[in-house]
Symmetry: C2
Subunit: 346 residues, 2 copies
Amino acid sequence: MAGSDTIAVTAPADFHVHLRQGKFSELVTKHVRLGGFTLAYVMPPIRNAEEALLYKAQLQVIDPTVDYLMTLYLSPELTPDEIRKAAKCGIVGVKSYPRGVTTNSDGGIESYETYYPVFEAMQEVDMVLNLHGEIPSDPSNNVCVLNAEISFLPHLEKLHANFPRLRIVLEHATTRAAIECVKKLGPTVACTITAHHLAMIVDDWAGQSFHFCKPVAKFPDDRTALQEIVKQGHPRFFLGSDSAPHPPDRKSRSSPNQPCAAGVYTSPILLPLMAHLLESFGALDKLENFVSGYGRAFYKVPAHEEKVTLKRVSGKLVSNQWSLGEESVVPFYAGKDLGWEIVSDN
Amino acid sequence: MAGSDTIAVTAPADFHVHLRQGKFSELVTKHVRLGGFTLAYVMPPIRNAEEALLYKAQLQVIDPTVDYLMTLYLSPELTPDEIRKAAKCGIVGVKSYPRGVTTNSDGGIESYETYYPVFEAMQEVDMVLNLHGEIPSDPSNNVCVLNAEISFLPHLEKLHANFPRLRIVLEHATTRAAIECVKKLGPTVACTITAHHLAMIVDDWAGQSFHFCKPVAKFPDDRTALQEIVKQGHPRFFLGSDSAPHPPDRKSRSSPNQPCAAGVYTSPILLPLMAHLLESFGALDKLENFVSGYGRAFYKVPAHEEKVTLKRVSGKLVSNQWSLGEESVVPFYAGKDLGWEIVSDN
């Protein structure tokens, strides 16, 4: 497949995306399909099944051609009953953010134990637990954004040991240690990898706010580990873009008292970007599985028949900005040449 | 001394500062004295003795009350003869930046050997070698901004082994490894530490462009090592602020194709800031030696009699900006309370 001038990918699926609310959502939700994707696993701060269904309906109004898989936010108000209800409503997963689980502030260590009844119910109904795998920074214990992910891994291991049948996804892994840990844990534990973490190291976001995201990109060797697992075609490692739009002035500007917003925006260019990146490290033949097959298999969401075709192109630069009314957003790779574009159906 | 409400410091000396050119220099040069300092060790990109003397004269016109110690920039055009001439002109040191020494790009390893005749001459005339101690990032060898300093230390050790009588200063150390290395190397090797590296870790510059500088601030444990060596009162570790002014829009803004400028600006608040920081980790009793005595001893620049007095104050906030005509600059700690101010002589 590498070297050919077109690639047809069956039903690309982004297993981690942020689609926002209101007018901004109208702008960015359409970018899922624009970027070549037909499924969006939506990570909103949504607390119960009813809200999730309402949000899903709003997204469907904006673009009915995309499958939206919905998640709930792990918080103390989430009960085993709500889990069973959510599962019946077709909600697929529960997302845990570090701040949601920091019930024990002793040394920055998180305690998931208060959520064990919820996890028990999730295991029963076969829902997926999505983990933002970082512990909060805690300088007194030498924990900072650079080792927050590595420091989280023992919590992942413990969770898996206690709930071996619970499907768990470690989201947006950034380190060799995380890759090794997920590999070791067996078939119920998977891992998403973003486009931008396949592209960047710490140098790329140092002083460059458009490239700043959480988790931060790490050492070159960590990026190599991410690329290697993709190249190897390991079925428990698949794309979750964590595409996170922010208004341009929240990305471009800092003041002494306000940092820029964290997040890299890849949705509108996602499939061409994936082809560009995978080709750069010799993994273009893994494109379809990485952006569709492996994730769909883990999530048990079979692909429909639709194929999205990419063709080689040169000299076409990524737009510097997408806008809708007063809303706008600047993509990753703005102004650069990806070398691939989506072939229009029309 | 800790706990008292005034502190008198003899002749504060900043052994690493950037004073720029032209109009911008008029603004920032006056901030040396405003920040309580009477000596500035000036780090410009200056290539020979004549230029250095001219630049010194320009600085003296702006503020004649400060002692300016001048340095040259290590480059292939610097000869042993120029070193001997510079020494006679009172020029104190030679500054090496990584880009100046990357004559061998093999694996990002720097080769200083082409400069050995220059170092030989410097050792003869007792000039100081100031090292920006980072090797260039080289992802293929896992070198990035986070380990660029640690990767440089073998070069420092080799230089010292070859020129044991050459006084060397490792500038703006940021890691425990650098501190340990300098401690080990004995009386001809010293180390400057900035104010901002005593204050920050990586989390502080992640997404916060005003806090972005090179070398980048590292792990909490690295900051602890810097604080500990100051608290211990080790005579070969002293202040060099690396205060580096940039226009505010070069600090606050990134575009997708241009990162912000690297540098943290501390000059106008430097002595109160040092008192604030040293007090925060129980080292206020080391203030005078850290900001004056130790550096002056290493550089053989005895203190004159002038004392600068600090007093405790509360509720006085650091200015958000200093301006002169169209030039302006935003300081570190803008809008924050340092708890100390300089007592005016008037």
